[in-house]
Symmetry: C2
Subunit: 341 residues, 2 copies
DNA sequence: AAACTGAACGCAAACGCTTGCGCAACAGCG
DNA sequence: CGCTGTTGCGCAAGCGTTTGCGTTCAGTTT
């Protein structure tokens, strides 16, 4: 039913090995025979069985991508870009969506990518045990989140610098009571919230503003969480006049909370986000932009490069930092003395 | 280096075939031996090579998912839900992101899923040729977009009914000049825009409103397109007092255009979307909600069911329709006589 | 003209599993 | 006590490739 390499060989009047060599551009086949074989293969609609070829060669031409919540904008966008690069290079991608704890545990114990992929791109931060499991795969590893890790090529941004310029922007506008919506409840080893928070603290310090813990609220990196967090911040005795949300999704939740309270941004409180979400422009959100698709693409490219290298390399793990920039839109302004707050 | 089935067999003191049967729960192995083997396998960290086992068995335990733009909310969300179902059932997913024409052509000519997947979930509408290519794979097929197609299990919504209730809502509010932002420039065979447009036309007719072609604009199903389309609509001699956007993304673009023109929704023009995008609530967009994750999950489940069936079935292609509902938020209201329009 | 090249190709052995079949061993039956 | 069934397991033949090695043969060398 499905045509195999021997069928092609028979029709072309050569051996299977020659067909294999011819189709993969390996030397040892004359140009005419090669052309002949290509013609026959095309005509018969032959495609080599990946199972068989990877069994025989050890190469799978497949990349494993593991991510939490592909549904979320950030991960979906990174995945989109990475997949594009991989498939253009002839690699397929095996996707693992590890949103739930069960899925995550299942993945790391059974490790279904073992012997199935040539490399792994991780969009989540593995804990130590998980990290070890990934390393045990013996393939190149890359990630677009978190800080540098042994054996991982990481492509990311300077979270601290991003947070710094966000908060500094608020300070420059004249704000003194600046709140932050963070994501402390995220899994361990997730350094982003920590770095962004530190940026926030550092700017406060440099501006001589004493840090008020009541002005920090947890938004869990979701829209709803951001809304809840903003609501909390509005409930403190002296609410902030500006808020730095560690992600645009949380910032949008914050905007929603403001609307619910009949307050307006930036008239009553300024809001700045982080990420430059696809829809940030739609809601006019001022934010720190990071090149999300570029990060995915770059990570993919670096991974592919490692695969092309003459092996035996001592795992050329690198750390590339992508540029960030402040995008001014309509949710930040100087504090208004007329605000009801 | 990596442990194979024979290693396990040797350690457990049995043959490889017994290990294979034991680990996969096949009959013909006594309980004690089975337990023994399981123990050894666990201890050795053995995982069967997927390549080898699918080569031998023909089963791949992998599902191919092809989608345009996984980065877009709708597809990302469907994918997320579907992947969750698949992986819970022990299947892996091979992802193909066919955003660009080149990627798409490459996929359908080389058909990298051939002999590599047990089923395919398509989130894009194949043209006739592509459809034939998919069918030639000889595996169960499903889709969450478009109308019924031979050999496909389709899970979707009633686009016509959704559009109908959207436009009827506007009519009930008292609007007579109702514009539409559609997506005509999308690829052929994409029935959604057609069905939604028909719903629009039908309601106009039933309300005795004569259809004005100048009130239709193409938004290409993107935010920017929606913004452009709204701008066009505002430029006609007598602009609409309400607009039905065929997707929330376009509706958000429309809102953005309104803001740019110093107009407000719903004060100056009402806007209703379609999909109930994750962020629709954030911007207060009235819309037609469809259960996106549920569609992905359901399609995945139906596909798995076909795989479990005793084969030889005459391709039990079904067509399930998920419920939709009107979600009232803050972008629709009766037409205002005081509007500058 | 004999010996020596490569280049082009075929042979056959993996790769690590699955599975039909055969063969013991043992149970239950008349 | 022989006979027929079961049950539990091993044998070995694939599955469709890739690849090291061997062979053939035309084209150089001496």
């Amino acid at each position: 039913m499905t045509v195999s390499i021997t069928d092609v060989a028979r029709v072309a009047g050569v051996s299977a090995s020659t067909v294999s060599r011819a189709l993969r551009g390996r030397p040892g086949v004359s140009d005419e025979v090669r052309a002949q074989i290509a013609a026959v293969a095309g005509q018969l609609g032959y495609t080599a069985s990946r199972s068989a070829s990877s069994l025989a060669s050890g190469r799978t031409f497949t990349i494993g991508v593991v991510a939490p919540h592909i549904g979320r904008w950030f991960f979906g966008t990174v995945l989109d870009a990475a997949e594009t690069v991989f498939s253009a290079a002839g690699y397929d991608v095996l996707l693992y969506n590890l949103g739930s704890p069960e899925a995550r545990k299942r993945f790391f114990t059974r490790l279904p990518v073992r012997k199935r992929v040539d490399a792994v791109l991780s969009l989540l931060i593995p804990d130590l045990e998980e990290e070890e499991a990934l390393r045990s795969l013996g393939v190149p590893l890359a990630t677009t989140v978190g800080g540098a890790r042994d054996g991982f090529t990481v492509v990311g941004i300077d979270d601290h610098a991003g947070a710094t310029s966000a908060v500094r922007h608020l300070v420059n506008l004249g704000h003194r009571r600046i709140g932050m919506i963070s994501g402390e409840s995220e899994p361990l080893h997730w350094t982003t919230p920590i770095a962004r928070r530190q940026g926030y603290l550092d700017v406060l310090a440099e501006a001589g503003i004493t840090h008020d813990p009541a002005l920090e609220a947890d938004g869990g990196y979701t829209v709803e969480g951001g809304e809840r967090a903003m609501t909390e911040l509005l409930a403190v005795s002296r609410p902030p006049t500006a808020v730095f949300a560690q992600s645009d999704e949380m910032a949008m939740g914050a905007l929603r909370a403001l609307r619910r309270h009949r307050l307006r941004a930036p008239d009553d409180v300024s809001v700045i986000g982080f990420d430059d979400h696809e829809l940030a422009e739609v809601v006019g959100l001022t934010t720190i932009a990071q090149p999300v698709p570029a990060q995915g693409a770059e990570a993919a490219r670096l991974l592919l490069r490692q695969l092309d290298e003459p092996v035996a390399e001592p795992a050329p793990t690198g750390h590339v930092r992508m540029p960030i920039r402040l995008v001014l839109r309509e949710t930040t302004a100087p504090p208004s003395p007329r605000s009801p707050l």
